[in-house]
């Protein structure tokens, strides 16, 4: 079969099937306990979201290593997926989100400098209802930081926002990824090879 028939969705499901699994309820409750603790410590929504974003970012950075090790995206392998353009990364992102969070995503807008991904289930917001006085809190900010961290490791400097969120009453969750700039590869001027 030609390599083009390996769709991202198929690859994503294959990667997911091989992953060791953890209980999603436990994950959701742990995240809930963490957010509750942040609410107690930091008070304002901005500070809470900044902290969640930072946590997601460092989780994303670590996930990329795992992803690249397992997803075998090398050009010579059957499963070649290349990111020659920024919007191609949405396919790879689809695979990574399935592999780690088990969520199935659909592509939304696809433009040169931004794209969006939609997903129905959000493992972070299981059991969650926002109280009226915190209705503005972006509960799933961790996910935004997570995607930002992953893409940063792939040299893309992006801004990620939740365009739609089921918790806020929208029909679907939608994450919008905007490209700011493509970072320079390499270690910079400080590093000189011997």
């Amino acid at each position: 079969m030609a390599s083009k028939s390996w769709s991202p969705t198929y690859l994503a499901n294959q990667l997911w099937a091989k992953q060791p699994k953890a209980n999603a309820e436990l994950f959701a409750l742990t995240y809930g306990a963490l957010v509750a603790e942040l609410v107690r410590d930091l008070e304002t929504n901005d500070k809470i979201q900044a902290e969640l974003d930072r946590m997601g970012h460092s989780m994303g950075i670590r996930s990329v290593e795992e992803f690249l090790a397992k997803a075998s995206l090398e050009p010579q392998s059957q499963t070649a997926v290349t990111c020659s353009q920024f919007k191609d990364t949405s396919d790879v992102l689809k695979m990574a989100l399935k592999m780690f969070l088990g969520i199935t995503t659909e592509a939304g807008v696809q433009e040169d400098s931004h794209f969006s991904i939609q997903f129905a289930e959000n493992p972070l917001s299981l059991f969650v209802e926002l109280p009226p006085d915190r209705s503005d809190l972006e509960y799933s900010q961790l996910l935004c930081g997570y995607v930002r961290g992953m893409l940063e490791m792939l040299q893309f400097d992006v801004t990620v926002t939740m365009a739609q969120s089921v918790l806020r009453g929208d029909e679907v969750n939608e994450m919008r990824v905007d490209l700011n700039q493509v970072l320079q590869a390499g270690a910079g001027d400080d590093y000189q090879e011997e």
């Binding site: 999603a24 436990l26 809930g32 603790e37 969070l101 088990g102």
Partner: protein, 195 residues
């Protein structure tokens, strides 16, 4: 083929992301409880205080998770406790049942394995031994820092144990210990003392 969009008891996330989240949780607690630079106290004391505060914070989060997850896991559980017994015996057997539930069902969800060894004096003290706790496998042995960090991370399962027992009507104090100091950080014991 699309997989089913299930939510509830049979839904999963990857093991790594859960581990990353718990790591971030401990990391945040550590950053938040930085040692106070109080000139009146000496530095060592401040460090020890901060470490205790981190443990308490992580434990508190574990407690709330343990309390809630027990609600879900015990939903379809039938308890094997014989009724109409002498009270002291009945209480002891109830406690044992609860701890067994913890060792099997709860641990299975947390670490995908059961506790390796359960010891009890039948008077409210239980020692649970896990000889290879997954989260601890990559901790370096012998470094002073790593012991402190491992202890902070272990506060999370400690809290879960306390929360779980508390939901089952058993107030307890939980502490943890390393069984093979100098060889591996992954062998640890959890000591439960019913109040």
């Amino acid at each position: 083929m699309e997989t089913s969009t299930s939510t509830g008891a049979d839904s999963h996330v990857s093991e790594q992301i859960f581990e990353f989240l718990v790591t971030e949780l401990t990391h945040y607690s550590r950053a938040h409880c930085a040692p106070a630079s109080d000139s009146q106290r000496d530095e060592e004391e401040a460090l020890a205080m901060a470490s205790e505060m981190v443990q308490a914070k992580v434990e508190r989060m574990g407690y709330s998770v343990g309390y809630r997850i027990t609600e879900r896991l015990a939903l379809n559980k039938t308890w094997n406790v014989a009724p109409n017994q002498d009270t002291a015996v009945a209480v002891a057997s109830q406690q044992l049942e609860a701890v067994k539930f913890l060792c099997k069902d709860v641990w299975l969800e947390l670490f995908a394995k059961q506790i390796d060894k359960l010891q009890t004096n039948h008077r409210g003290v239980f020692v649970l031994k896990d000889l290879s706790l997954k989260w601890m496998l990559r901790f370096p042995v012998g470094a002073e820092d790593s012991r402190i960090m491992a202890q902070q991370l272990l506060s999370y399962p400690c809290g879960i144990i306390r929360g779980c027992l508390s939901n089952l009507g058993i107030p307890a104090v939980v502490s943890c210990d390393f069984l093979a100091d100098g060889q591996s950080m992954a062998a640890c014991s959890f000591n439960i003392k019913v109040k």
